[in-house]
């Protein structure tokens, strides 16, 4: 008797049915097992949009499969289209998934260490095929995810969906908003450029304000990983970004979606009687089955959104990369990311502890979570919610105002002379000078007396400059000088530039390297040229290489 006997049932099938039919049958069986109930013909009919046969096999994946058991078998006709939800919740999950996929790919090329993190960014841009695309996609996806999640929340508030019985859904959604914001913010630090270091430094310095002082000190130490941001801090924020926050996010997406399905997708406010919640009782003639309509739409949204992201990342949007992080150099006009500008604005109002810690972490979340318990009227119709809607609109207006206050335009003391130069030579982006045409930065002819071809231009004489690039740069310079001579802000600070003169000096410093010095003087200025600690003078130097090409969007 043989110890081992080869036995494959398919051989019997092939014998009895023939090769092709047997293989087809086997494939069909495999597909049916994989989809938990749909065979190839069923899938084709779903994609064709045929009416379902009776009994409907398309509900089987919902009952027996893992992925679809989370999705409802059918939606109300009024709740699955772009209106009223704009599918913003679905898009939030899309972006979350998108960020996880692009993020995992980026992790391959990243080491969370201050010694190499920035070099990793340069490698992504200059050494990894599709590296820049990956980085841009991840960054663009992150920005859009914040926008989509905020809009999702706003839409929910406006249509009153947070009302009973969905208060807890709203609370989990609020946690997801926090996770989204923190995910986006923690990702800021990882490239280890100036932008990341200083944005996160602003954030960590708020923790320092927590009272009593000992708690603040510990919170600060935990966030920075030491007295100063360095290897320890970077590693912590990295782990927060790739491990803790995504895990919390996945868990709460689960809870949030579970609550959504339990309560049903709520209908537009005007379509159900006041005080009634009919989402769970969808009449047979009002049903749209998940398969095929909702499924195919979602496949379409996925493909379309991905296509738009890819096209946008290649042709229109590039993630910024500033110079290497430097704890000794604070760039002028550093701000937090746009979605935290309101927080920076609040810090300018008063006490760092009250406005930077208590209100944003206790009062605001408290009010927002309690909102559904405060607005208790049964009606979700706009006409019946004047107070609620007014409060929501006022809240938005206040946030917009605070965000403006967070920008450097509001209540940041600065010297007008520095502002003038920062317009041409900003410290947080390339700016007009670096992006201008190197060859058109005209110098004098090089002679024994003038070995560097040094040539000075006055801002006020911009019209007579020899090249178009210079005329444009000097015109902006002149404009800024006029602004610095008199504006409300400098009048208040009493530091307007009286009798200001702006000069721009260009020299050929090395082969292919020009030195550009901006010299702003006022009230006569000092006698000597650009000496340290001079009165009534501000000098700033920039070096520009012929091939540095700042126009690539980084």
């Amino acid at each position: 008797m043989a110890v081992f006997k080869f036995y494959a049932p398919i051989l019997d099938d092939i014998k009895s049915k023939g090769l092709i039919p047997a293989l087809l049958h086997k494939t069909n069986e495999a597909v049916e097992r994989f989809t938990a109930g749909l065979d190839i013909e069923d899938i084709r009919s779903v994609l064709r949009g045929d009416p379902p046969p009776r009994p409907n096999p398309r509900v089987k994946p919902h009952a027996d499969g893992f992925w679809f058991h989370m999705r409802p078998t059918y939606y109300h006709n009024l709740a699955h289209g772009l209106y009223p939800s704009f599918r913003l919740g679905w898009f939030s999950v899309y972006f979350f998934t998108f960020e996880i996929i692009t993020g995992l790919l980026l992790m391959v090329f990243y080491t969370p260490s201050p010694l190499v993190a920035y070099e990793n960014m340069l490698d992504l841009l200059g050494n990894v095929p599709f590296g820049r695309l990956l980085r841009d996609l991840h960054k663009l996806g992150a920005e859009l995810m914040v926008i989509v999640v905020l809009l999702h929340m706003l839409r929910t508030a406006i249509t009153g969906n947070y009302k009973k019985p969905r208060q807890f859904t709203w609370a989990t959604g609020f946690i997801l908003l926090i996770v989204t914001l923190l995910l986006s913010f923690s990702g800021y630090l990882l490239p280890w450029d100036q932008l990341s270091l200083w944005a996160v430094t602003i954030g960590a310095s708020m923790a320092e304000a927590v009272q009593p002082q000992v708690v603040g000190d510990i919170a600060n130490l935990i966030m920075r990983g030491g007295p100063q941001f360095n290897a320890g801090g970077l590693l912590r924020w990295y782990l927060l970004h790739v491990l803790l926050l995504p895990v919390v996010g996945v868990v709460f997406v689960g809870v949030h979606y579970y609550k959504v399905v339990i309560h049903g997708h709520s209908l537009p406010p005007e379509s159900e009687p006041v005080g009634e919640d009919t989402a769970k009782r969808v009449p047979t003639d009002q049903r749209t089955y998940f398969m095929p309509d909702v499924l195919t739409k979602e496949v379409l949204y996925t493909i379309l959104a991905t296509a738009l992201l890819v096209v946008a990342s290649i042709f229109f949007y590039h993630a910024p990369l500033e110079p290497h992080a430097d704890l000794l150099v604070t760039p002028l006009h550093t701000t937090s990311p746009w979605y935290f500008l309101w927080l920076q604005g609040m810090l300018k109002i008063g006490d760092k502890f009250i406005w930077g810690v208590v209100i944003p972490t206790i009062i605001l979340p408290g009010v927002l979570t309690l909102l559904p318990y405060l607005e208790v009227g049964p009606s979700r119709r706009y006409g019946d919610r004047r107070v609620g809607l007014t409060v929501i609109m006022l809240f938005m207006a206040v946030m917009a105002g605070l965000s403006f206050m967070g920008t450097p335009h509001y209540l940041v003391s600065s010297s007008p002379d520095q502002e003038v130069v920062a317009r041409l030579l900003p410290q947080t982006k390339p700016g007009p000078l670096r992006e201008s045409d190197w060859n058109e930065l005209d110098i004098a002819s090089i002679t024994a007396d003038n070995p560097t071809g040094r040539k000075a231009y006055l801002a006020s004489e911009w019209a007579s400059a020899p090249t178009e690039t210079l005329r444009e740069l000097l015109r902006v310079y002149d404009e800024e000088m006029e602004l610095a001579a008199d504006n409300p802000k400098c009048r208040a600070a009493e530091n307007c530039l009286k009798d200001g003169v702006g000069a721009m000096i260009i020299e050929l410093w090395q082969t292919d390297l020009k030195k550009i010095t901006f010299r702003v003087i006022w009230e006569g200025g000092p006698k000597d040229f650009c000496q340290p600690a001079a009165q009534h003078e501000f000098c700033q130097t920039a070096y520009l290489h012929r091939l540095s090409n700042y126009g690539q969007g980084e």
Binding site: G126, F130, V299, I303, A307, P323, T511, D512, K515
Partner: protein, 286 residues
């Protein structure tokens, strides 16, 4: 349903075409970025140079009373490298000099008597500059070399090692250059001065009042001599390239394993001319 299929298919095609476009242009884009980053390093290096280096090395690297000139052809045509027998490339030499500094006066500029030592700049060695900043500085300094590019460079020096065979015929030696070489190669650190490690060279420092030249003349004929030299020149040759062949009497110059404390590296580090120069110099110390 039809329009969903159409829009979806078109979007998918758009994505694939765009990715294909990236795949085709990616090599150029990466090369462009690398080139522009290198140019930006020159810019950053210029600012660092102005703030940290210009005070001693001159605003345009022309040198001055405090430190040697950097904007000079010797640095870029290989002459400096040859002088100090640096086997690497110029930018590595510049990087090493910046990062590590010059704790001792450089022998190449001993005559200039610069008042200050070159400080250590690299973060790795306790200085203030990060690696990328040192790299930027190197890029800026190397950019001076572009102006000298039309000058035919001397080949990067490759040391043809003299080897350990002491019967090799050496070229005529230059005692003056030999003296410099003993300083550059660190010989004087052990063989002269208060803290002697090896036998004293100088007549004044030797306990028996005889200089290294005299020792060379006497020792190879001594009874206890274990080497193979048949002339004073060969005795010195052997002492340098095979330090353990015969260890001079007097203080114990051996390591625990019985070999000489003198490192056995000079058969590969010196070429024939340098060795001949050193021997010529040593023979003048009687």
């Amino acid at each position: 349903m039809t329009w969903r299929v159409i829009v979806g298919t078109l979007s998918l095609m758009l994505t694939m075409i765009t990715l294909g476009y990236v795949a085709v242009t990616e090599q150029d884009r990466m090369a462009n970025f690398t080139a522009s980053y290198e140019s930006r390093q020159v810019e950053a290096g210029a600012a660092i140079f102005e703030n940290n280096c210009a005070r001693c090395h001159g605003v345009e690297g022309q040198g001055g009373g405090r430190a040697p000139a950097l904007n000079t052809i010797e640095l870029f045509n290989g002459a400096r490298l040859k002088e100090i027998a640096w086997a690497g490339a110029t930018d590595d030499y510049v990087r090493a000099a910046i990062a590590g500094g010059r704790p001792r006066a450089s022998a190449s500029f001993a005559a200039n008597n610069y008042p200050e030592r070159m400080p250590t700049w690299g973060e790795d060695f306790g200085g203030p500059l990060r690696k990328d900043q040192v790299d930027s500085l190197v890029a800026f300094i190397m950019n001076w070399g572009v102006a000298y590019a039309n000058v035919t460079p001397e080949p990067v020096p490759t040391v043809v090692p003299v080897g350990t065979d002491i019967t090799v015929e050496l070229p005529a030696g230059n005692a003056e250059n030999g003296k410099k070489l003993t300083e550059k190669n660190g010989c004087t650190a052990c063989h002269t001065g208060a803290a002697l490690v090896g036998p004293a060279w100088l007549t004044a420092e030797a306990t028996d009042g005889k200089g290294v030249g005299t020792h060379a003349e006497e020792r190879y004929t001594d009874a206890g001599y274990t080497g193979k030299a048949t002339s004073p020149e060969q005795y010195l040759f052997e002492s340098i390239v095979q330090p353990s062949a015969f260890i001079a009497p007097g203080v114990d110059y051996t390591l625990p394993d019985g070999t000489s404390k003198m490192p056995a590296i000079y058969s590969t580090a010196l070429d024939a001319q340098n060795l001949a120069d050193i021997i010529a110099y040593l023979q003048t110390i009687k």
